[in-house]
């Protein structure tokens, strides 16, 4: 190889390396943007697919208790009374109260669930175990931490307990899947006790899987229920 050719080759190689170094961060940024856009569009599609809850205006309005944060930062919840035309069907009723809970209180500081989260589906088994399937935003947009994750689950279980007596236990799914934790801390592999009268438990899942734990509702972290 002649020295001139070698010099040209080296120069071309150096140029390619420089171009690569300059282009790599741009490419990486584009990939990240594409990922975010894909996630957002998938989330939007899932929310559109989620069937809206049919509200019958002829249903008598009842005072529903929805549990949001007290706002003092200590992880406690307090009930807010909201008048809703609640259905007598427990599944529809559950969807109505959970959707109202997700919509959030007037004061956004008192939110317990991320604003982007949506209830995709809700089932109630004959033994009183309910299965609530939420969109991924519930897991991804919730502030990370034991306290915040516990508050989110508490607000759901307390709201169901106050308004839908048929629900005794709750299994939470994220986008149709069982998750190990909500956002890195709270155990989602078992069911959460909703009704204080629920005794024993039929674990969600079953088959040859190990029996899932039953998570009792943590009373100390929740404000006392008014009479």
């Amino acid at each position: 190889m002649s020295p001139r050719l070698r010099a040209w080759l080296l120069a071309a190689l150096a140029l390619a390396v420089i171009v690569g170094v300059v282009y790599f961060p741009i490419l990486r940024r584009h990939i990240k943007q594409a990922e975010v856009m894909q996630e957002q569009s998938a989330e939007r599609a899932r929310r559109e697919l989620a069937q809206p809850v049919v509200v019958n205006p002829s249903e008598p309005k009842v005072k529903a208790q929805l549990f949001w944060a007290t706002g003092n930062g200590d992880g406690t919840l307090s009930p807010s009374i909201v008048e809703l035309p609640l259905s007598s069907d427990p599944v529809l009723r559950s969807k109505q109260v959970l959707n109202t809970l997700l919509a959030g209180p007037v004061d956004v500081e008192l939110r317990t669930l991320p604003p982007d989260a949506a209830l995709l589906e809700f089932y109630l088994l004959p033994n009183g175990t309910a299965v609530a399937d939420f969109s991924e935003a519930l897991a991804t947009a919730i502030p990370s931490g034991i306290q915040s994750e516990q508050m989110a689950v508490d607000s759901i279980t307390r709201t169901l307990e106050a308004n839908v007596p048929q629900v005794q236990r709750l299994k939470i799914l994220i986008h149709g899947q069982e998750m190990e934790t909500l956002a890195g801390h709270l155990d989602l592999t078992g069911t959460f006790q909703v009704s204080t009268g629920a005794s024993g438990a039929t674990p969600a899942g079953g088959g040859d899987k190990p029996v899932s734990p039953i998570a009792d509702k943590p009373a100390p972290a929740v404000a006392p229920k008014p009479n």
């Binding site: 003092n72 930062g73 200590d74 992880g75 502030p143 990370s144 931490g145 034991i146 306290q147 915040s148 516990q150 508050m151 689950v153 190990e180 934790t181 890195g184 801390h185 709270l186 155990d187 592999t189 078992g190 959460f192 024993g200 438990a201 190990p210 029996v211 899932s212 734990p213 039953i214 998570a215 009792d216 943590p218 009373a219 100390p220 972290a221």
Partner: protein, 280 residues
Amino acid sequence: MLLDVRISWRGCKRAWESRNFRTIPFLATTILAAVAFGWAAQTQTQAPPTTPAVSSQSSASATPQQTSPGTPRAGLNVVVLDPAHGGTDPGARGTGGIRESDIVLDFAAQVKHALEGQGIQVILTRQGNDDPSFDDRSAMANAQLGAVFVTLHIASTGLPGTVRVYVNTDLLTTTDAGGMIPWDRAQMPFQGLSRKLGDLVQGLLAQRFKGSPNTAQTAAVRQLRTTAAPAIAVEVSSVVVDDKADLDKMAPGVAEAIAIGVATFKPSYVVPTTNTGGTP
């Protein structure tokens, strides 16, 4: 070793220059011997400890309390300290780039030091920026006799400057056909002890950090469920501080409360006679 190699190199050079190839086998043997000697010396000096996360100080201080391998002593022998998250999982993130996974490592170092001051042996589930699984972290405690498990967290919510201790929610009593407790309910026999330890530590934290609860809270903390030992989660509020120094200031108080709490708990710790079945 360096000297040996130099001598050998000079010998080779001289042999090459003098074209005296008869000395080559001798020189080759010398070089090989020098390399082998150096390798052996290096291996001896860099031999890793069998339990790298166990501090030498704590081992020394724990020596008088240790019994022979054949007669395991019931009660608290070691604290398994778990700085949560790590690796690709940063945990909670604050506005100023504060990462929970980094802060808990700092806290863990101070808690470890405070526990060692109480003469208690400490094992860390991670010492760098790695992320063992929940089961791997639990397994480190489950492999010990007489362990206490403490997992450290920084919240992204809550009253700044407060600390909460969590114990796991009550698990239903279940055993498999062989009378063994399933791995995913390993915490079950230890719930009473966990509650006692949690209340002790929380009480001490409440004295140091105003606004903290007086007793431990209950939550379905995933990390605690598979741990076959008295286990608590300690969560400091929060990463949402203007300055990381605000969190750094809390570390000595948190470390002291955990160390005193564990030392106070020690006499009441009697290992329940249970089997934890299976593997994760």
